[in-house]
Structure formats: C-alpha cells, structure tokens
C-alpha cells in the first residue's frame, strides 16, 4: 500500500490530485450516496465482497446493473400508448431485483411504487412511476460514473506504484 502521505504525485499524468485526495473524494461521494438514500446496506455488502482477489467486483456489478436497468427502461419507455401491465410488471420486477442486488435503494423503492400501479392497472400512475424511476436511476448512474472514475484513478495509482 502506498504510504499516502509520503507519496503525493503532484506530477501524475492522470491528474494533479493526490492519491489521498482521490480516496477522500471517493469516500465522501459514497457516504453522501448513503445518506441521501441512493445506496443502502446491500451496497456495503458489495464493498465488502471486493477484495484483492476480486478488485473489480463492485465496478462489475455496477456495470451489470446499469446495462440491465437501461435495457429495461428502454423497453418500458417504448409503447407507452398501450400498457401491458403484466409485461410492464415483469420488467419492473426485474429492475427491482437488480436494483436491490446492487443496493440502489431509491431506484428499488421507485420500482415498488411502480409495481403497485401496475397491479392497480393504473396507466397514469405507471407512467408517472416510470418517470420517477428514471429520475432516480439517472441520478444514481451519474454518481456511479463519478465513483467508478475515481476508483479507476485510485487503482491506477496503485498499479503505477507497483511498476
């Protein structure tokens, strides 16, 4: 591990930020996501599952989730004229499942709401709910992007050190 204090790579090509600053920024970001409800305890489990043997685990899961979610949202956004509640419900169920697996709390809660409307065959409700889900998802996705970038840069430091 880097002795953070003693190795401030000011002249690092990647960025002028020191490793320590990067880490701090990442921590602050993740913490804020917890506080704001974007992430829940499941994400903590993911963090814990990441270790030396699987250094890219969290990134992998996040990527899988994002792919899944966007696929589903795309599907849901199509054909809004005629709503097939069952089909919609199935999609939403999927999204709910993957968001809960990754710890995306706000998205999950929005999906639960969405499913409620589906059960009630409430089209407007569903459309509204879809927007809510999208809103939460893209918010989360944004932060995930930043998070992964930071993590990438941090890991780049490590690998650079090893070289």
């Amino acid at each position: 591990m880097l002795p953070l204090c003693s190795r401030v790579l000011l002249s690092h090509p990647f960025s002028p930020m020191s490793l320590m600053a990067l880490r701090e920024q990442l921590n602050m970001l993740v913490n804020s996501m917890y506080i704001e409800g974007l992430l829940d305890q499941q994400f903590q489990q993911l963090q814990m599952l990441q270790d030396a043997s699987s250094p890219g685990f969290v990134a992998e899961v996040i990527n899988l989730f994002c792919e899944d979610a966007e696929r589903i949202l795309t599907e849901l956004t199509k054909d809004q004229a005629v709503v097939d509640f069952q089909k919609v419900d199935a999609y939403v169920h999927q999204l709910k499942g993957s968001s809960s697996s990754v710890g995306a709390q706000n998205v999950k809660l929005a999906c639960i709401q969405f499913r409620q409307f589906c059960e009630e065959n409430n089209k407007d409700g569903c459309l509204n709910a879809l927007n809510v889900v999208k809103h939460h998802y893209y918010l989360l996705r944004n932060k995930f992007d930043t998070m992964l970038q930071l993590e990438q840069r941090i890991q780049a430091y490590d690998s650079k050190q090893q070289n």
């Binding site: 489990q45 989730f65 899944d68 697996s101």
Partner: protein, 724 residues
C-alpha cells in the same frame, strides 16, 4: 455461462477430503438477473463453495442432466423468462433429487408456499445476504442423512456399516439416484476402505452411525495429562490411562487417539526445545497471547509433562509472555533432562507449564489469565499472610516452571498457605530436595507461581545462575533453604512472596550472590536464617516486606516495606542480617515495624562485615549497628547509600540477629553492589538509577523496576564489579 471451466474443476472436487465440507460444495446458480447472478456468485465463492452460474433455466436443466453428480445443490430464481423457477424445481426434484433453494425478490406468502409445496429446501429473499448463504450446506447434509437413514431402516439386519455400505452402493447404482453426488459416493468408498481402521471417524460423515465425538475439554485433557504423568509418559498406555481417568463414556480408542496426538505434540516440543533460539526469536515481538496460544494449552501441559525445555527457552517464553524482553538474560544452552514426578534433582531443564496447577488440581481458582489456560488460580492468598497483598500482575500468562506431578495434598504445608496461583503454575516440588537446580548458566524465571516445597532447596543455582522469580509466590514451607544460589547467582524476586515458613534459610546465597526482592513479601515465619548471604552477596529488598514472624525478632509490618539491608560480610557464617532501617533507630533487636513510613531495622553487623574486598562484599559498612537511611531522606550509614533515600521508602526489618548468616539487604537500587562496592564507595556519583535490566558478568539481572526508589539508587553498571 461459466460452466465449462467450473465444471472441469468440479470434477476435481470429488477428490476433496470429505472433512473439508462444506468447502467446495458444488452449487448451480440459476437466475436471469445478471446483476443478482454476479452478486450471489461472488458471495458463494466467498463461502468457499464451488459455483456454476446459468442465466437460463433450460440450460441449467441440461447441465444437470448431462452431468449427474456434478452438483450438490441448486439455487434458482423464481421468476425467469424461459421457465418458471418452480417448474425447474419440480424437474430437479424428480430427476436428480438435489436440494433446491429458491430465491426471489417477491416473498409474498403464496410464493413461498409454492416453493414449499414444490419441494424447495429453502427460500431466500433478494437481495440475498451473505449470512444466509453460509449455512445452505445444511440442506445437502440433511438430505443425505435422511436418505441414508431410510436405506438403513429398510436394509437387512446386518452390521450397520456393512449394511450401509451395501445399500449405499446399490443406491448409487440405481439410475434413479444417479444424481447422487459423486463426492458422497467417493466419501463412502473411502470410508469403506477404511473399515478395518479405527472406526472412530472424526469426519462429519452423516452417513455413518455417528459415534459420539469426544470433546477434549480442558478438564478432560487435564485428567488425561494427570493420568499420563502418573503413569509416566513412557509407560502410559491407553488402557491404563483410561482406568486412571475413570471417565464414563470414554473409550479406549478415544484415549488412544488422543494419546497419539499428545505424543506427537511432545515430540514436536522437544524439537522446539532444541531450537530454542529460533523459538526465542519467534517469540519476540509477538503478543503474548498470540504466542502462548501458538503453543496451545496442550503444549503447555505436554511441556509440563515432558518438560524438555531448556531454561533459556523457558525464560524466553516467559519473558515473552510477560512482555519483558529477555534481552537481559543470558541465555545459555543447556539441555537437561526433564524432571519428572517428584524428583527434580540435577535437572537443569525446567519444565514449564503454563498455568496449570499441575500439581494442584485442588488449587484451581478463578481464571485470571487471559490465555486460554487452565491454570486458573487466584493470586496467592496465603493463609497467614494477609500482608501478602497483591503479588501478581494479572495480565500475564506466565510460563512457569513447573515441576511436579499433581499431588494430592496441597502445596504449602505448614504455613497454611492456601496459595493459589495466578494464571501460572503451581510449582510444587513437593518432595524434592531441590526443586530447581540449575547448573551452568541458566536462567530460571518463575513467575506467578508458587513453589511450595518441603524441600530443602527450592532454588538452587549453580554457577552463574540467575534465577529470577517474578510475580510469584514462593512458598517454601519446610525447606531449609528456599533459595540457594551458588556462586555468582542472583535471585530476583520480583513482586513475589516468599514464604519460607519453616525454613532455616529463606535465602541462601553463596558467593557473589544477590537477592533482589522487589515488592515482595518475605515472611519467614520460622526461619532462623531467612537470608543468608555468602560472600559478596547482597540482598536487595525493595518495597518488600520481610516478615519473620516467629523469629526472635519479629517484624511485623502492615504495609509493604522496603527493607534496606546492608549486605555484608564475606563469610557465610557471619550471620547477621542487617536490615537497615529507616526512620527509627534500632538497637540490636528488631522492632515491630508498624509505621508506614519508617521502619527501623536493626542492623547488626559483624565488624568485618561490609568490608569490601576486592572480590567480596558489596557493602562496606563499618558500623556494627547500621541504620541505613531513613525513609525520609536521611542518609543511611552506608556510605553514599542513598538507597534509603526514597521518600516513601519503608524499610522493613530483618530478623536475623544472631543468626549464623549474614544477609545484606540493600534497599533499592539495582546497582546496589556498585553503590556499596568498595570501588564505588568513593564515587558517590555512581549512577544507581535504574536504567533497566542489565546483566553483569555474573549474569545477574536486575530488573528495572526493582529499584524504583526515587532515584535513590542509580543504576550501576558497576554492579558487576562488586560481585566477582
């Protein structure tokens, strides 16, 4: 799907030792949600299971069908696009009879109920947590058990194992059960092959009739070791051990296998003993707990039994445990025979045992040790000595030199000392004449232990021995000489209590010996000569209380006092102990020292006492009656002695008037000798401040803390000079 590679590896898993289960349990994970698949897969891997993932139910089925026995269990999602999870569940149950666990984000009652009715073993709700996955292996085991039980009941009336063997084979041969896990089959085959062996399987083999597994608890192991010791390690046979242990339900086989392990252990230890330096090194710097734990309690007991531990190893270990770096100790290599049973003569090697009241099962008290040690004895509470106070530090697991076998009777004989030890051992050289006999240059460290003895000499050091007793309670009940050191010895009693109750000579020091009592209590109740110093010997009592209760001149002190005695005298026969007193002047007799701050100790000295010769006495006193110092700073008569300068020093009185021996006690100051050595007398500026332990040429160690008197004593590297 990561099937291929994991499948290939799963084949290898068949060869895994069954007793490593559930590690390597083969799980097939089916879920169309890739995110969840990735997460659960990682968790399962973390649980050390073998995972195969599949995002399509149909694919999963074909996998299962193609590779019978490739999987131990299946975890499947409920809602899947191509096939309903429950359907998969049904099919698996029919065809393969494997345990299936359902997963879903939907945990409504009807969903779960459906799972149950379709035969699911369990139902996990998403998001799945790690804790839930850790115990899923139970479903595999349970199923196997139930299966084998059914077969057993339906089998012919034969010997159980054989029955199982036959039936299990037939079971496995049937196509219906082709899905049976190959690993279990393998397990059975292995077990069958070992039928002739001792049937005591330690493995978790649910298919076998489980023999009650013997748990070798502390108590049980202690009984075992006692029995072994009683028989003698060489003569200990399982049958006899079993008889001695007299534990209902214990079989000869249990004992035999345990004995085998024990023997291996002993062997390993004696190998360890050979590489004491390595041991020292390995011990250094590690937490005492860790290290002690490394040896394990079994180790200690074994050591106690076999005791092939050279003193320096012992000391090193002890130091390690104590947290006292043993750099000051001169470690020499002496490999000496182990004292067995009651006879300790001539053994240089001391068995040490951690904590177990090996000799005194009766002395078990509360566990104080932080180590998972047996010896759980209270700090010595001597019957008579309420003054004992706290002897021991509580947080150490001490290696203790332990000699004897458990003896039925209690440790201390007369002084009705109900001595209990602290997490250390009870040294009970009950009948030996010399319990610790160290030749050469060994270092003996006793910590927290009691040495009750009827022996004449508890500690007997040869040349350049530095026995150190620390935090121990040394009770020599009937000994004549509880501590005896030969030439160049130095005994350190650090926070110890020495009770030579009937001893004639509590401390007997030969030439160039020093006795350092720090914070110790030495109530020799009946001694005539508590402290005997030979030539060039000195006693240093710091914060210690010497209470010769039955002496002609008794000292009775309530608090710990620091007797400062002048050490003097070149001749062993000289006798007079000169406890120096502070505060009150003493006449020839002793006075009760009741006051806290000042005690008077009479000092009677032979005229020639304390004359320092080139090689002799450490003291140079020229007064027959010397009062050494006062607690409040009054200088003692000892030249330059500031020993007694401590403000809160209390001196105790030493008995010993008219005793044959002379003992000198030096108050604080490690470097007592230097202080008072002839050479140094002229240099009052000798720094007596304790700077730590140091070993002189004579190999004695003066502990740092011993002389805590406010700088009264300065460390004296010159200490060595005084002792030749």
């Amino acid at each position: 799907m990561s099937v291929g590679s994991s499948y290939a590896s799963s084949r290898l898993e068949n060869n895994r030792m069954p007793d490593k289960f559930p590690v390597g349990m083969k799980v097939l994970l089916v879920d169309d949600d890739l995110t969840c698949l990735a997460v659960v897969k990682r968790m399962l891997l973390q649980c050390q299971y073998d995972v195969t993932t599949c995002s399509e139910a149909k694919r999963a089925l074909s996998l299962l069908r193609e590779n019978k026995g490739a999987f131990d269990m299946i975890i499947s999602d409920v809602h899947m696009p191509d096939m309903d999870g429950f359907k998969l569940l049904e099919l698996v149950g029919l065809e393969m009879d494997l345990p299936v666990i359902m997963m879903s984000g939907d945990t409504r009652f009807n969903v779960v109920m459906k799972g149950v009715s379709h035969g699911a073993c369990d139902f996990l709700s998403k998001p799945v947590r790690m804790e839930e996955l850790q115990n899923i292996w139970q479903h595999v085991v349970r199923r196997k058990w139930l299966d084998s039980k059914e077969i057993e009941h339906s089998g012919s009336v034969e010997e159980a194992d054989h029955n199982r063997q036959v039936n299990d084979d037939s079971e496995y041969d049937s196509t219906l059960n082709d899905g049976t896990d190959g690993s279990w089959k393998y397990l059975k085959k292995k077990r069958d092959a070992k039928e002739d062996d001792d049937g005591d399987l330690d493995n978790v083999d649910p298919s076998s009739s489980k023999k009650p597994r013997v748990v070798w608890s502390v108590e049980l192991h202690q009984q075992f070791v006692n029995a072994v010791n009683q028989l003698g390690i060489d003569k200990a046979v399982p049958k006899r051990i079993l008889e001695l242990m007299n534990v209902p339900g214990l079989t000869r086989e249990n004992v035999a296998s345990h004995l085998q392990k024990f023997r291996l252990y002993l062997k390993r230890l004696s190998g360890v003993a050979q590489h004491h330096t390595g041991l020292n090194n390995s011990l250094c710097g590690s937490s005492s707990n860790a290290k002690v734990g490394q040896l394990g309690r079994l180790d200690f007991q074994t050591l106690a039994v076999s005791g092939q531990i050279p003193p320096q190893t012992l000391a090193a270990l002890q130091d390690e445990l104590l947290g006292h770096p043993s750099h000051s100790f001169a470690m020499q290599t002496t490999n000496l025979p182990v004292p067995q049973q009651a006879s300790v003569q001539g053994t240089n090697c001391v068995t040490f045992e951690r904590g177990i009241a090996f000799g005194q099962p009766s002395l078990k008290g509360q566990a104080v040790s932080s180590l998972p040690v047996w010896s759980t004895n209270d700090p010595g509470s001597v019957g008579s000595a309420s003054n004992l106070g706290r002897l021991n530090t509580q947080n150490n697991n001490m290696l203790v030199t332990m000699l004897q076998q458990p003896q039925p009777h209690t440790v201390t004989s007369d002084s009705n000392h109900a001595i209990k030890m602290q997490p250390s051992c009870l040294v009970d050289p009950r009948k030996s004449s010399s319990n610790f006999q160290v030749q050469g240059n060994p270092m003996l460290l006793n910590q927290d232990f009691v040495v009750p003895s009827q022996s004449s000499t508890n500690y007997q050091g040869g040349n350049t021995v530095v026995p150190a007793i620390q935090d121990s309670v040394v009770v020599t009940s009937q000994s004549s000489t509880s501590l005896r050191t030969g030439n160049n010895h130095f005994i350190t009693n650090h926070r110890s209590t020495v009770f030579p109750s009937e001893s004639l000579t509590g401390f007997s020091l030969g030439n160039d010996t020093g006795l350092l009592n720090q914070v110790s209590i030495l109530p020799p109740s009946q001694t005539s000569n508590n402290f005997q110093a030979g030539t060039k010997s000195f006693h240093i009592n710091q914060n210690s209380m010497v209470v010769p209760s039955q002496l002609s001149n008794t000292l009775q002190t309530e608090k710990s006092i620091m007797p400062v005695a002048v050490n003097y005298n070149p001749l062993p026969t000289q006798s007079d102990i000169m406890p120096s007193s502070m505060g009150q002047a003493l006449d020839g007799g002793f006075e009760n020292l009741a006051a806290v701050d000042s005690y008077s100790v009479s000092i009677s000295m032979v005229p020639e006492a304390l004359s320092s010769t080139g090689s002799s006495t450490s003291w140079q006193l020229h007064h027959p009656d010397v009062i050494i110092g006062r607690p409040h700073g009054s200088p003692c008569l000892v030249p330059n002695s500031c020993n007694v300068q401590a403000t809160d020093t209390r001196l105790g009185k030493f008995p010993e008037k008219g005793q044959g021996r002379s003992l000198g006690f030096v108050g604080k100051g490690t470097c007592l000798p230097s202080r008072f050595a002839v050479d140094d007398i002229e240099s009052p500026t000798n720094d007596l401040t304790n700077t730590g332990t140091y070993t002189g040429d004579d190999g004695y160690v003066l502990n740092q803390d011993i002389f805590g008197i406010n700088g009264a004593f300065q460390s004296g590297h010159c200490a060595t000079t005084s002792f030749k």
